[in-house]
Symmetry: C2
Subunit: 401 residues, 2 copies
């Protein structure tokens, strides 16, 4: 089933055994999952995927779960990819696409990483997990852990979105708040996990969530008939989605699934003006970012002052000749209105930031009107009910409009 081979440190390249519980490398670097891609290429061709389940598990040979019995699924993945003709025309782009991750369980792309992370944790015998969260990841991991019969403990900032709190409590997670940032929540989780023997599943501290997220890259290629777009924009907080898409591109090339000599899409990491550590590092030509002080943005999912995988994001962007863009909250809200009203897609503010980014990249000529551009919307707008005003006029019973 799976061609899982071993784990490799993304920083020092040391290899680690996959079939025991692992967090970070001894050097502190996040671990990446490696497969025997030669064998996989011989056993599986793109055409074999056609009749398979409409979820990310259609790529099971390239996912880290060895036994189908350990798959914990709520139907995540194979989210729709569709054109945005009216928004494209308004922005001046001939071919604009949206991949809508809001159509995942728990209404965000976080379900992908939680599905593979929890499945693999189950396979390795883990029964209790703990993690800090800004919201969506917590809701997702809590849901998959509940389905696996695992106990889960979450700690989140007091300003975490109410909808994620709701999700976590609905499925019976032990959840707490802390008056601080996600880094403060992370410190509490690290101490408590150590004290109780819980598995710590914070972003990139466990190797398997990337694997779920990389399937966004596989799906994009499959949905476009094994071609690639020119540009992919991604809202970047922890950056695992973007790292995962790049990992998928490299794997698909090695598998021989992409046209000979194909050019990779330029990957664009989009952050908020109020929290843009990776944009700053990119502009300054640095390999890692510095912690962003007083981080603040309406797009809470990308309010990550310092990402553990920042260097991997910067690598992915540079190696694909991409770029990094910061978007003002006002432009994010403008983008939200544009995509909702012109295309009927009520996306999350993180996804809406991409619309602002497209506008500015077109303006300065980095994007040209004839390029095929994909916006990766990471979640559903209804998870952020406070972002828009929604009061309605009340009519009399005998009214006619």
């Amino acid at each position: 089933m799976s061609f899982l081979s071993h784990l490799e440190c993304s920083r020092c390249r040391q290899t680690h055994e996959a079939d025991r519980v692992q967090n970070l490398c001894t050097c502190g670097g996040p671990l990446l999952v490696r497969y025997d891609l030669k064998k996989a290429a011989a056993a599986l061709r793109p055409a074999d995927l056609a009749g398979r389940v409409s979820s990310l598990w259609r790529y099971r040979e390239l996912l880290p779960v060895r036994s189908p019995d350990n798959i914990v699924t709520l139907g995540e993945g194979m989210t729709p990819l569709f054109r945005l003709p009216r928004l494209g025309e308004a922005l001046g782009l001939r071919e604009l696409w949206l991949k809508d991750e809001g159509l995942n369980p728990t209404a965000s792309f976080k379900a992908r990483g939680a599905a593979t992370g929890v499945s693999r944790a189950k396979e390795l015998g883990i029964t209790s997990i703990a993690m800090p969260t800004n919201g969506n990841a917590g809701g997702a991991w809590a849901s998959y852990a509940a389905r696996a019969g695992m106990s889960v403990t979450l700690v989140m900032p007091t300003d975490a979105p109410a909808m994620s709190v709701l999700e976590a409590t609905a499925v019976g997670a032990r959840a707490y708040m802390v008056k601080g940032q996600i880094t403060d929540a992370g410190a509490i989780v690290a101490r408590s996990a150590k004290a109780h023997g819980w598995f710590e599943a914070a972003t990139l501290k466990e190797p398997y969530r990337i694997e779920g997220k990389k399937t966004m890259g596989y799906e994009l290629a499959e949905q476009l008939g094994w071609t690639l777009p020119d540009v992919i924009l991604y809202p970047t907080g922890g950056g695992v989605g973007l790292i995962g898409i790049y990992k998928a591109l490299l794997e698909m090339r090695e598998l021989g699934w992409l046209p000979e000599g194909v050019r990779f899409p330029r990957l664009v990491a989009v952050q908020a003006e109020g929290c843009q550590p990776i944009v700053k590092a990119f502009r300054e030509g640095r390999d890692t970012s510095e912690k962003w002080e007083n981080a603040s943005t309406v797009a809470q999912g990308i309010r990550v002052p310092k990402a553990l995988g920042d260097f991997l994001v910067l690598q992915a962007v540079r190696e694909t000749k991409g770029t990094c863009v910061a978007v003002a909250d006002a432009d994010t809200l403008w983008g939200l209105t544009q995509v909702s009203r012109l295309e009927g897609a009520f996306i999350c503010p993180e996804g809406a930031a991409l619309v602002g980014a497209v506008r500015s990249l077109l303006k300065d000529g980095w994007l040209t009107p004839d390029e095929r551009v994909v916006l990766l919307n990471t979640g559903a707008g209804i998870k952020y009910p406070d972002i828009l005003k929604s009061e309605l006029p009340v009519l009399e019973l005998n009214a006619t409009l």
Copy 2:
């Protein structure tokens, strides 16, 4: 592309031309869409579906849109179908499944009907639509209308769920409230539509929403490898979902897509104790229901005092040897907790009512433990944030759990 043939009255069987704008039959009956199924059977076999788009448009030959240019899609359909092993065990059922319609655009099954309804309206040249709604349908139709560039007017009761109000306003619908029930909203819409020439798209007053909803039946069969479950439970308000699934069963049999001599699943219409007109009619052996006075339930989506298609629901239930069950709100909330905590699926209260129904049907022996049972969950739990309490303890920065 489409094998659309004509429209047929579900009551008096009169036929109507499909390629002009139609509401009800002259006799007041809802119109059903008919296809040339002989030609369709010759042109299309189940195996042809394998490589197609992962949305309800994979069944395009059996949908009413003639030109692909008129398809208005946000990626609706092909929602996941997965086992509920832990809940099944707790209830005493060997094979319990959930089809999760929360993974649709606008987080409910209403997206299916809106997609086909708006697409066909576009094809027929309609530019303005109006409808009364309890919530989810309004959010869905507003979204698809926005994408099609149509104007849309909604009228909903003042106690409509805030999340649907949010969706409708986000996509720019003209939306209003009225201090009354959906029937009062319907009267305002009917008057106003007449005054302004808007197309009235209330439930079953236009023929095409059923077509989107019937695809739940096609998908179930395809996802189960062209076999059928023994029982399907469906939360029943207007009843279009259930009517649609039965229509799909009949069509698939005529197409020759089902095993020879297959027995149809028994269809179970589930209502709330506080609004159970169809259950009452079923018990009394009647063909139509009477308006339920003072309708009230926590499952707002099935608070429909009198459904236009009640006789079609009763037909579908009786012809499949199914039944009708009313569930108390307390059992619905119990069901919500069970499915959330045991399976990590945070479903809507309408879907949760099905869990209460399964328990009572097992208890009285109507269901037996070895039957294959499918719960059709119609929407996502996060659309009902007020239904659960979700306050968390706040930790000190230096806390260890």
